[in-house]
């Protein structure tokens, strides 16, 4: 039957091939699905599924040694509310994030403004300021830990000018500040480059007009530069805050959360509970808390984008 038809078709108009099911459009669609499959599997297996599971696990107690997995309802959440460490942990997390954002953005902006001057050799300085970004995180943290020892390089330097430095990483007043500073110098180069790009995007005519009107440099900076780079300020602060919530290696190497709980940030506490004390259910509950904080910050970002930022390119 088909043979006969085929023959009839080919007899009528030989060069036209039989229209295939695989039109260009269909083939295109198939390629699309094939291309996204690995990414999609990854997103489902390593983002979505674990996110659902983390909520599910937070309602359970899992003892890895006895291999028991029991439903406990809201017990872990009650524990979260009763845990005397949680306020201290949240305080440390907030302090670290705020300290990091303020110091990081201020320094990044200062460096960017300096590098934006018409000076020879700014490329060299840009490279130097950026270099810690590519130094292995652990190497950077270890050498700072070495420098901040009681008898380390920083106190040696202070001794030379007859100042007795504190035991930076072991005293309550300076441990958090030290961790913040180590992290700021590690990554401020990234924000610096973003600010530099934003500064170079400010139209020169605006500066000239302001100067003709006799505006002082500080006024120009506050009234022209800052509003025009506000989208970048918002962006960098969000990146920096979310990044600050993920800090782990620095705490683990420099202070182990101490002294006391003064530098125990949420991720470090989560790690301690789940992987040192084997309280996996409670660890999952802390993960849910971390997720909610990140989510809230992201929503806040969208709200602020609408209201606060001067313009959006």
């Amino acid at each position: 039957m088909t043979v006969v038809q085929d023959r009839a078709v080919s007899a009528r108009s030989a060069p036209t091939p039989k229209p295939s099911f695989w039109t260009t459009r269909r083939r295109d669609q198939l390629t699309g699905y094939v291309f996204i499959t690995p990414a999609l599997i990854g997103a489902v297996a390593f983002v979505f599924l674990p996110l659902v599971l983390v909520v599910w696990y937070s309602l359970h107690e899992w003892n890895v040694l006895a291999d028991t997995f029991t439903f406990v309802g809201s017990e872990n959440y009650q524990k979260l509310l009763d845990d005397p460490n949680v306020p201290a942990v949240l305080r440390a997390t907030g302090l670290f994030s705020v300290g990091l954002v303020v110091f990081n953005l201020a320094l990044a902006l200062l460096l960017a403004v300096l590098l934006n001057q018409k000076l020879r050799g700014t490329t060299v300085f840009r490279v130097l300021f950026f270099s810690p970004v590519v130094v292995s995180l652990l190497a950077w943290t270890i050498v700072w830990g070495f420098l901040l020892q009681d008898n380390g390089g920083i106190n040696g330097l202070l001794n030379a000018v007859a100042i007795e430095g504190p035991n930076w990483l072991r005293s309550g007043g300076t441990a958090m500040a030290s961790v913040v500073i180590v992290q700021v110098f590690k990554n401020v180069g990234l924000n610096m480059v973003l600010f530099l790009a934003a500064l170079q995007g400010v139209p020169q005519e605006l500066y000239e007009a302001a100067r003709t009107d006799g505006a002082a440099p500080w006024t120009i900076f506050r009234r022209i530069t800052l509003p025009l780079i506000s989208p970048t300020i918002l962006l960098t602060s969000i990146i920096t805050v979310v990044g600050s919530l993920q800090v782990f290696a620095q705490i683990s190497v420099l202070t182990q959360g101490g002294p006391g709980t003064s530098t125990t940030v949420l991720v470090y506490y989560l790690y301690q509970q789940a992987f040192q004390f084997h309280a996996f259910g409670y660890g999952a509950t802390l993960s849910v808390l971390l997720f909610l904080i990140v989510l809230a910050l992201t929503v806040l970002q969208w709200q602020m984008r609408k209201r606060w930022v001067f313009h959006e390119s």
Binding site: G32, I36, L40, A43, F46, W140, F146, S287
Partner: protein, 274 residues
């Protein structure tokens, strides 16, 4: 600009450089100091020794650990490039049903830092018998949140490609996979470079995951190994530790100095999109 202002600016920039450059300098020079001199505030070792550099290899299987970090970072980088380039291209240039919903599904990965999911992922890998293997360190970054960011960056790049190029290729009878491989990918080299740098450094610096998953010394990655150079009383052997840290940092720093423009622009660009 008056010469005075210039001198002031150069002075200020040089002073500001100290906390950025000095630690790396201190790390490398101190690694050549004998233990007796380690806390001496000398900018240059008065008594050079390569003993700490040798001890790095006798105290731990450091060459093995170095290899572990290197091969994991290379596999993760190549894998991420493949996954992200394909998905990014499809989301940017091919029309297919459910595209927007699927893109949203993938994009949610940007919202969820990997620290949030480490507890359930540990349980999954544990039940698969993959704890204390390198699989979690390869699979999670290659397919999880960092790869999602890479996919997003690639999509943003492919969207900017002019459609006429593909039209012309189609006229020449090229199919979609061929267009992707021969037209789109070669044009995407800057974006691929940025993703490669960012992915490699991410894997090279990964710390929480190895600490959680890996327990055998021969399977350690570098960040984990660096913290383990202690004497019998858990006291830190600073010069040995700093030698190992220098060995970890110097190769990347050398590549950075050679390709600083690509590094700075690439990393700032990927950070911006994140």
């Amino acid at each position: 600009m008056s010469p005075k202002t210039k001198i002031f600016l150069y002075g200020l920039l040089s002073v500001l450089c100290i906390p950025f450059v000095f630690p790396t300098w201190w790390m490398i020079t101190s690694s050549f100091k004998p233990n007796a001199e380690i806390f001496a505030p000398s900018l240059w070792p008065s008594d050079w020794t390569v003993e700490p550099w040798r001890q790095v290899f006798t105290m731990q299987p450091f060459a093995q650990q170095y290899f572990n970090s290197a091969y994991i970072a290379v596999v993760v980088t190549l894998g991420t490039l493949a996954v992200a380039a394909m998905a990014g291209y499809a989301f940017a240039r091919i029309r297919f049903r459910g595209q927007n919903v699927l893109f949203l599904v993938v994009l949610t990965g940007l919202l969820i830092p990997s620290e949030v999911t480490i507890v359930p992922l540990f349980r999954i890998f544990n039940s698969l018998g993959l704890v204390d293997t390198h699989w979690p360190l390869i699979l999670v970054p290659m397919l999880g949140p960092p790869s999602v960011l890479a996919t997003f960056i690639m999509r943003q790049f492919f969207i900017t490609l002019p459609g006429e190029l593909e039209e012309a290729a189609r006229m020449d009878g090229l199919g979609r996979p061929a267009i992707f491989r021969r037209i789109a990918l070669p044009l995407a080299r800057p974006a691929l470079g940025a993703v490669a740098i960012f992915t490699f450094l991410h894997s090279w610096n990964l710390y929480l995951e190895p600490v959680v998953y890996i327990s055998s010394q021969t399977k350690y990655t570098l960040p984990q190994a660096l913290t383990q150079f202690t004497d019998a009383y858990q006291g830190q052997l600073w010069n040995v530790q700093l030698s190992a840290a220098s060995m970890t940092a110097i190769p990347v720093l050398i590549v950075f100095v050679i390709a600083q423009r690509q590094f700075i622009e690439g990393l700032a660009h990927t950070g911006l999109k994140g």
